[in-house]
């Protein structure tokens, strides 16, 4: 099973190693704290953009309330991810807490896009391993970056495009699985609107809020339609 999980998470390895390293390098070159705090943050916080924001908050010796608010707002898009996994995680038992803890953009993408068998417990075990593998890649990246600092020799410029490519591939897979292009176009359009009107830090949450509102409206109109049909059959 681990071979399958490794194959599924390989694109994330290519994304998380260089991004984790970028965070580690930033941490050691910008701050005077011990290097091990970088991997520690990868273990207990585990959020890409969040940890990079944390470097600038640490550099500014930000107040703890300010830290809480800034991290909460930056990660607020995760609020919506859980909504679509309520049923899927239901029978996960003790694994559930870790599955929720490890719900990054990339892990969410893999968990909601892969094909699943009828064997719920087996699939939850795969979900759990996917989450753990991804976090291991991230922590290795944070550690390497913090230790190597400026001495990173390999020119990996552009390798983080692996995550963009992953999102594109998963969009195509979602489209084929759903057989309905509406959510895909709605998502892309919401992203366009958010990018036009919001600063980069709020674009993701803005786009997710817009598209959730669109899906709510779609739900209402579908219900109204099926109610009308229900009455006409009587």
């Amino acid at each position: 099973m681990n071979a399958l999980v490794f194959r599924l998470t390989l694109p994330i390895l290519f994304g998380y190693l260089p991004l984790g390293m970028a965070f580690g390098v930033l941490f050691t070159t910008q701050l005077d704290y011990a290097w091990w705090a970088a991997p520690l943050m990868g273990v207990v916080i585990y959020a890409g953009a969040g940890q990079i924001l944390a470097v600038s908050l640490l550099a500014a010796s930000a107040g703890l309330l300010e830290v809480f608010i800034a991290m909460f707002v930056l990660n607020a898009r995760h609020l919506f991810y859980g909504l679509s996994l309520l049923g899927q995680f239901r029978k996960a038992g003790w694994k559930k807490l870790y599955l929720i803890f490890g719900l990054t953009d990339e892990t969410y993408s893999l968990l909601t896009s892969r094909t699943r068998s009828q064997d719920t417990l087996h699939e939850l075990d795969v979900d759990f391993r996917i989450t753990a593998f991804n976090q291991v890649y991230w922590v290795i990246g944070c550690t390497l970056g913090a230790l190597l600092g400026r001495n990173v020799a390999f020119d990996s410029t552009g390798i983080e495009f692996a995550l963009v490519a992953l999102f594109i591939v998963l969009t195509i897979e979602q489209l084929k699985a759903l057989g309905d292009a509406f959510p895909v176009w709605a998502g892309a359009a919401a992203a366009g609107v958010a990018m036009m009107f919001l600063p980069p830090a709020h674009q993701l949450i803005g786009a997710i809020a817009i598209v959730t509102a669109v899906l709510l409206l779609q739900y209402r109109s579908l219900r109204a339609k099926s109610n009308a049909e229900g009455r006409s059959h009587v």
């Binding site: 704290y33 703890l64 809480f68 919506f80 309520l86 559930k96 969410y108 495009f161 692996a162 958010a194």
Partner: protein
């Protein structure tokens, strides 16, 4: 507060805030798992989120100051779509697109035209 205790408190607070964003839906909506609205979102939200993540990060990886703005990201993105529709092998599509993007950004082929 000493440096180390500030750092420890900082990491604890940052971790709590991040975890809060991930667990809140499970705390407040668990009882409504069977509600048709929650099911509707569960079915359609992932596709919408995937499309918006792809759009936002594709835009961010583009060099919009190049001769043809964003050509690096658009070309690599189109390659991913084309190869994926052709072979439907996720790793192959991702590897090809990433290699193309790395080649473009490391050689700067699209910036040469400006100089010559």
């Amino acid at each position: 507060m000493s440096d180390t205790s500030y750092l420890v408190a900082f990491i604890a607070v940052a971790a709590a805030a991040t975890f809060a964003t991930r667990i809140i839906p499970f705390l407040f909506f668990e009882r409504h798992t069977e509600h048709p609205l929650v099911k509707h979102l569960g079915r359609f939200l992932p596709a919408a989120v995937m499309a918006l993540l792809a759009t936002v990060f594709l835009q961010r990886s583009g060099n919009w100051a190049a001769v043809v703005p964003g050509l690096d990201a658009i070309l690599a993105g189109a390659l991913v779509v084309g190869i994926h529709l052709w072979r439907r092998n996720a790793l192959l599509s991702i590897a090809a697109g990433t290699a193309a993007y790395m080649l473009i950004s490391q050689t700067g082929v699209f910036e040469v035209a400006l100089v010559s």
